[in-house]
């Protein structure tokens, strides 16, 4: 049962990751790429975390997994904001 | 005491040298008494040792710097000969120099290096091994350089640079020779001739060449003499010291040491080194005289004369026969006395009459009789007029040449005598015969300058007149040769 959940959840996670990457590669401009990416990879990481969560041996490990996700979300949100703003002020590579 | 005496003799000039550096410029009394005191002390020690050596005491002191690098101070008869000369002339030159410089600047520096120079010469004389000889040889270079440069004007600095440019490669060559030799024979002590059988004749000849080049720079053997005439830019006391006692004599002394205490007369002959060196010495004798003829400046003429005269010593050593060697050794002393007299006089002419060039000497004999008489004595001695000092040397050299089977040397001696006369007699002619110029001036109210000059001039007569006495330089040279080397 737990293994099954892991298979499923990690698979979904992978889909999000791959989709996010595809968006990162395919989308035409910086902001749409940003958009695709933040959404996709945070969800992807979430599903991976949940999937692996079913494999944990101790509660503490699960807690750590959730902490990781929370931290990643916090970072991703902040970074997306900041980089997007920065992108407005600077142009292309010099 | 037997170990301490050589060290004491060394210290008698080394300590004053070091202390003098720290005496302020206006500390005349302290500086003068220190230097004179050192000189007197050294003379006293030398006299003491003279008597003790005659009793057969051996003086030896050594201390190791590193394995194989041992400073050995040892008094033998040859060392004593040289040391007596340098001790006596140091004393006289100090008196002369104090009078000469009066209140000129940088006196502490001058007298410091002056004493250091004498200390090096003393150490050189006392050295009992090749490596200690080298160390003092090099110290001598270093301590004379500031003396040559002392005036710090353009010619002096140029002369000092030339001096180093000759002396440093020279001593480097000497060092190579020493190390090459010692790498096969072990440390060379002058008391026991090294065993040269380890080395093949080609190497031995090569090493000998290096030795002669090394010491020959200081002995001003042609073509290594270039520094000496330009070094006359130095103050008169320095020139006196350089030409009579310290540098050129160190070189000549080195030649004697190498030939008699390292190679030995027999090896010289068997390796075929004797005649080539005698040939070079002869060339130097003639070349120096010819060049002296062409000089219009008194000191320059004297300088070339030194080039020529010092090679008498080399010639005597190179011929390697006992009589020639006596001639060479005695010339070591005699030339010193004569040449210092001449340079003292040249200094007095310059200081008291402002005369630097030969044409300024006209008629000075009447105005400056003492100096002129001394100068004449020195010049006649150089020419070899009996019974003055130079005659004795030339006489023995000639006999030695015959003994060594090299009669051609007589021709060299004759030619050299003629040339000597040719470049000295015109000076005497000017001094005594030609009338003085209208604006000529000059006086001798400088006892500090004149008295030492008179003493050395008197000595040139004395050593000639008393040549037969056992304590004369000639007697001493005889003793050295018969004791140490001769048949």
């Amino acid at each position: 049962m737990a293994d099954l959940a892991t298979y499923a959840l990690t698979a979904i996670g992978l889909v999000f990751f791959v989709a996010g990457t595809a968006g990162l590669i395919r989308f035409p401009d910086t902001f749409s790429r940003l958009h695709a990416l933040t959404k996709a990879d945070n969800l992807g990481l979430g599903f991976i975390v949940m999937g692996i969560g079913f494999q944990t041996e101790r509660w503490s490990q699960l807690a750590v997994l959730l902490l990781i996700w929370a931290l990643a979300l916090l970072a991703a949100g902040t970074v997306a904001q900041l980089v997007a703003r920065a992108a407005l002020t600077t142009g292309k590579d010099e | 005491m037997t170990a301490n005496l050589p060290v004491l003799i060394l210290l008698s000039s080394l300590l004053p040298a070091i202390i003098t550096f720290f005496i302020p410029q206006d500390g005349h009394a302290l500086r003068n008494s220190l230097n004179l005191g050192g000189a007197v002390l050294k003379l006293g020690l030398i006299i003491w040792m003279l008597f003790a050596i005659a009793d057969g005491t051996v003086y030896e002191a050594s201390f190791a710097l590193a394995p194989g690098l041992v400073i050995l101070l040892r008094v033998d008869a040859l060392a004593l000969l040289f040391i007596s000369l340098s001790g006596t002339l140091w004393f006289l030159t100090t008196i002369y120099a104090i009078a000469y410089f009066g209140g000129k600047p940088e006196l502490s520096r001058f007298f410091g290096f002056f004493s250091l120079c004498v200390a090096s010469t003393t150490g050189l004389a006392l050295s009992g091994s090749l490596i200690s000889f080298f160390i003092f040889f090099e110290l001598l270079t270093l301590s004379t350089w500031p003396l040559v440069a002392h005036k710090q004007d353009k010619p002096s600095l140029a002369a000092a640079r030339t001096y180093l440019a000759y002396a440093l490669p020279g001593s480097a060559t000497l060092l190579v020779a020493i190390i090459w030799l010692e790498s096969s024979t072990g440390p060379v002590l002058f008391t026991e001739p090294p065993d040269l059988s380890e080395l093949d004749p080609v190497s031995l000849r090569a090493i000998f060449c290096l030795f002669i080049i090394g010491v020959g720079v200081k002995a001003a053997i042609v073509p290594l003499h270039g520094w000496l005439p330009s070094a006359m830019a130095a103050p008169a006391p320095v020139s006196s010291l350089l030409h009579a006692v310290a540098v050129v004599k160190a070189g000549a002394f080195g030649v004697v040491r190498v030939i008699y205490d390292v190679y030995g007369a027999e090896n010289m002959a068997s390796l075929g080194l004797s005649m080539p060196l005698a040939g070079i010495a002869s060339v130097t004798i003639l070349w120096g005289s010819v060049r002296a003829l062409q000089q219009g400046e008194i000191k320059k003429r004297l300088a070339y004369s030194t080039v020529s005269q010092v090679s008498y010593i080399v010639l005597g050593a190179a011929l390697a026969s006992p009589l020639a060697m006596i001639g060479g050794l005695v010339h070591l002393i005699h030339q010193g006395l004569m040449k210092i007299t001449l340079f003292f006089c040249a200094g007095i002419f310059d200081e008291r009459a402002g005369v630097k060039r030969i044409d300024g000497l006209n008629g000075l004999g009447a105005r400056m009789p003492w100096t002129s008489v001394c100068f004449s004595l020195g010049a006649l001695g150089m020419i070899g007029l009996p019974p003055l000092a130079g005659f004795v040397s030339k006489f023995y050299l000639g006999l030695g040449a015959l003994e060594a089977g090299a009669p051609w040397v007589l021709a060299v001696l004759a030619a050299s005598t003629l040339l000597n006369a040719a470049y000295f007699l015109p000076l005497l002619y000017r001094l005594w015969i030609l009338p003085a110029a209208a604006d000529a001036s000059g006086d001798e109210r400088a006892p500090g300058l004149v008295v030492p000059t008179v003493i050395t001039a008197a000595a040139t007569i004395g050593v000639g007149l008393l040549a037969a006495s056992p304590i004369s330089p000639l007697g001493w040279a005889r003793l050295i040769v018969t004791q140490g080397y001769g048949p």
């Binding site: 298979y7 990457t21 790429r33 970074v79 980089v83 920065a86 002020t89 292309k92 | -």
Partner: protein, 108 residues
């Protein structure tokens, strides 16, 4: 399960590679920075998978990565501000450059 997790990790690495392609291409600095950020998240994911595969203590590495994931981007944002020390939010997005100095002077 082990094989699957290996596969997951492989795919995640592949996706990382895609993100790296964007880092290479750019074209804007923000693009590169953002793509690097994605590799960070992907790396955290890989580490989580590896933790299940190898050793649960690897989670602590993932925590460290997740915790510090934003530092580089914050540094980037700072370096993009005119004085290298500001905050992109201090500048009005549509604002023109002339009032930049004024806004900074107020904060300085």
């Amino acid at each position: 399960m082990t094989v699957w997790l290996h596969l997951v990790a492989l795919v995640l690495l592949g996706s990382l590679g895609g993100a790296l392609w964007r880092v290479w291409r750019g074209p804007s600095q923000a693009d590169r920075m953002m793509a690097a950020q994605l590799t960070g998240t992907g790396g955290v994911a890989v580490l989580i998978v590896l933790a299940a595969l190898q050793d649960w203590s690897l989670l602590i590495v993932a925590v460290a990565l997740a915790l510090l994931a934003a530092v580089a981007a914050v540094g980037f944002a700072k370096s993009q501000s005119p004085d290298g020390a500001g905050d992109p939010e201090e500048i009005k997005p549509a604002g023109d450059w002339s009032d930049l100095n004024a806004s900074e002077a107020g904060d300085g």
